[in-house]
Symmetry: C2
Subunit: 496 residues, 2 copies
């Protein structure tokens, strides 16, 4: 290894040291910090984040990239250079004064959005959103794109996936999902989710969920589980991958399925090849692939009949009396009910992608100047009726429900729907190669985790999302697997 290559790796380790301590500070802010400590902590995060930005866009970084790109280096180094160049270009193309003004706007906008949502008053947020959209259009032009301006934004979260690809798959997927939904709605008297609701002590929920995390192969010596308000997975380093959850003592589903979901994210990170540690490659390859891992575990394993046949007796050891009386089958159906609703994060797996399509269509139209910010509430409500058959009573439960736009995150939402499609596509291949039924019935799910590690997790950012998909499933993005999975599962549950 050349002296320059070693120097470059040491430079990446330096950047990663900042990343690790800043990440820890974020974890602490969301799980442990006392109220009054927040302000100074946030200032410290701001100062050190600016240092990271400096290191990522320095002349020294440019020198490493230019020199090492054309040199024979280790394969990991080569990928790390490519990733560093992406980050360099992305940051460097934005003039520094615009970047600073944008960071300020982001925090102001989040505060404005919070207030607007509480008061269900879109006009309070509108001027901020207009500026955020303008900045994102400007940035997209700085970054450049081939076919569609929205590609530049999408590319931040799902490199390689284009607006065209989404426009190719979403309409057909929408048609299939609304058809399925129609069938479910006709039969909806058959299932009842309320039978699983009732008081279930937090500690018991936690103990059962820990049991499941262990079945999945989550390594508690390389992670931990804490309480928070908005659950997340967070990677401090590859051997310290933490998850968080929130408990509703009257609805165990929030924490139990939430923990399985975050556990799916965590397995991805815990199983990345240790040789990638302390480089920008030591992370999931995209938001969508990450989401495929959490959704696979949450829905395709955690809400499967096999899972509950295996775990129901154990579950009952922790569950309160009212659940003791339920048969596995009744329980299984109750945790798999479908019903159109207003709030994305409360949606079931069949209606969820429809929520995403609404956001995708609106933000694409905003960025390409086809609609105006002021028209959003009306358009939102119209689409909700059209796609889901429900109408918000106010903007708080409508267009203002999600935080993403307030922090300028355009191009992010599609990853959620991509995650469902990827998950179903991986699930299909996995079940061809492994006897998932037998594995789940054995109560030790690690053969599944090992398969995911071998095919997905280990690579970190060494493979791009569509490359990974192609290598594993021998085809590109195909929404049919999601439709097939949902049709098989729900036709059986609802009997159509």
């Amino acid at each position: 290894m050349s002296a320059l290559e070693k120097e470059f790796l040491a430079y990446l380790h330096e950047i990663d040291a900042y990343r690790e301590l800043i990440t820890l500070a974020h974890w602490d802010l969301r799980t442990k910090v006392p109220k009054k400590g927040v302000e100074t902590r946030s200032q410290a995060i701001g100062i050190l984040s600016a240092k990271v930005h400096e290191l990522q866009t320095s002349d020294r970084m440019k020198h490493f990239i230019d020199e090492l790109k054309s040199t024979e280096t280790d394969k990991i180094t080569q990928k790390a250079i490519e990733e560093s160049e992406l980050i360099y270009e992305r940051n460097h193309k934005i003039p520094q004064d615009e970047y600073k003004a944008y960071v300020t706007l982001q925090s102001q906008s989040e505060a404005a959005w919070q207030e607007a949502r509480e008061k269900a008053d879109f006009q309070l947020f509108q001027p901020y959103l207009e500026k955020l959209v303008d900045y994102n259009k400007k940035f997209s032009n700085y970054w450049g794109y081939k076919d569609h301006i929205y590609d530049a934004l999408l590319n931040q979260y799902e490199p390689g996936v284009t607006t065209k690809m989404l426009d190719d798959v979403f309409p057909a997927l929408r048609k299939s999902l609304t058809d399925l939904l129609q069938k479910v709605t006709e039969k909806s008297t058959d299932t009842n989710s309320s039978v699983v609701l009732g008081h279930f002590p937090k500690n018991n929920q936690r103990e059962f969920a820990v049991h499941v995390l262990k079945q999945m192969g989550y390594d508690f010596e390389a992670g931990r589980l804490d309480d928070t308000i908005h659950p997340f997975e967070i990677t401090l380093n590859l051997q310290d991958v933490r998850i968080t959850t929130r408990y509703d003592e009257n609805d165990f589903r929030m924490a139990v399925f939430g923990i399985i979901h975050e556990g799916g994210h965590a397995l991805y990170e815990q199983n990345i090849n240790p040789e990638l540690a302390r480089t920008p490659l030591a992370s999931g390859t995209s938001m969508g692939i990450h989401e495929s891992q959490s959704l696979f575990w949450e829905n395709m394993i955690g809400r499967s009949r096999d899972f509950w046949r295996t775990n129901y007796e154990t579950f009952k050891q922790y569950a309160p009396d009212f659940l003791q009386a339920l048969e596995t089958e009744q329980f299984y159906k109750a945790i798999n009910t479908v019903s159109p609703s207003l709030i994305r994060i409360e949606a079931d797996e069949m209606t969820y992608p429809l929520h995403i399509m609404i956001r995708y269509e609106l933000e694409k139209a905003l960025i390409s100047d086809e609609i105006k910010v002021k028209d959003l509430p009306e358009l939102w409500n119209k689409k909700m009726v059209e796609y889901l058959g429900v109408e918000p009573e106010n903007d708080g439960e409508g267009v203002l429900q999600d935080i993403h736009w307030s922090s300028g995150d355009f191009g992010y939402f599609p990853s959620y729907a991509l995650g469902y499609m990827y998950a179903a596509q991986f699930n299909h291949t996995l079940r061809q190669q492994l006897d998932v039924e037998a594995i789940v019935q054995s109560g030790d799910f690690t053969p599944i985790t090992t398969w995911l590690k071998e095919h997905i997790h280990q690579y970190g950012k060494m493979k791009k999302p569509l490359e990974l998909l192609q290598d594993i499933t021998n085809e590109s993005l195909n929404p049919d697997y999601l439709v097939q999975y949902l049709t098989e599962k729900y036709s059986e549950i609802y009997g159509f």
Copy 2:
């Protein structure tokens, strides 16, 4: 405020941002981190700590100091310059290659000490300790001193206190303490500490201790209490001052008095003038003054008869059956027993300073070349017999018991004894000015905290330790108050 002064303050805020996130990483390492995450976290801490060192000794810092020293600035800025200059000089005077070699030696020595202590084999540690002593002698000469080489080391932890001052007070204090101890030993059949030992569930201990912390005025919105192995107080920022403790379910004294002790440290930091925030002045002024605050609360309040008269009924609400039967008086005597023992951290308040004097005399003699490292075990054991009348059976419970020397901390131990003397001296003045008995009986100790804040806490590092002592008590260091406090308390308990 001049542009340069503003720039300097921003520079201090930058250093403080690093300090805050590194401190958080230390807190996490000692309370939350999963086992496997430690290695990478430690590397990250190392990288960012080196950055802090760079910032503190940079040409830019030198420029700020030189320019601002002779300029009219805000008083806080002036003190911040003085403090920054001390840090600059201390770090700058050591050649960089020696500093690096020393940091490596420190971590090797800690590992060697751990093994040596476990095996009770001093020879395993001896070569490391010899090098550490050599470095500390060298550093002392770089730093310089007026009268005694040991002053240079002492000055790191207790600025202004000299070897001469310690040599003036320690012999008389030793004589008084051994006389007192003699009297106690003659009467020792009268008290029995074992009556307070027995199973006391952790959560109940915690709830009672939280009750006491609230009485003291500890602000839980600006701090939190966690579990750890070696308890400590840690300041992330002035509004996030955390304490930790360890529970022994068979001896509640460890956690309850430990929490009061750490709470005393925490009150100091929570009550520093917010105008000093994010500068090197936003911390206790010395190790000894810090220890005076923890010892005052732990012993002079927490182990007082008034405290237990007030709190015993509350305590019983949390305490197990075997404690319900004890009278307050019997309980009070049981938690105030005196008995010479081998281990410093388990010593009572009367014998504790004797443990410190032994270490002080040995390290002073090491640094001034009067004794050799290889002779330490023998000298240690001899002094233990001479000062405390007990003899270690091996070096593990003797000369190897403390971690300090293994990390090169020479000059630190005296602060513990100074803390006792300061505490007694402050306690004397405080009781002249406040009706402490009435305050403690009221169950709301905040008038005491307010007094401490006004006279000690608020100043942070704005006043040096002896300046603080003089301003409050109108005299310099005077060990008589400690002797007087111990004599009054224990003559009454032991009846001599």
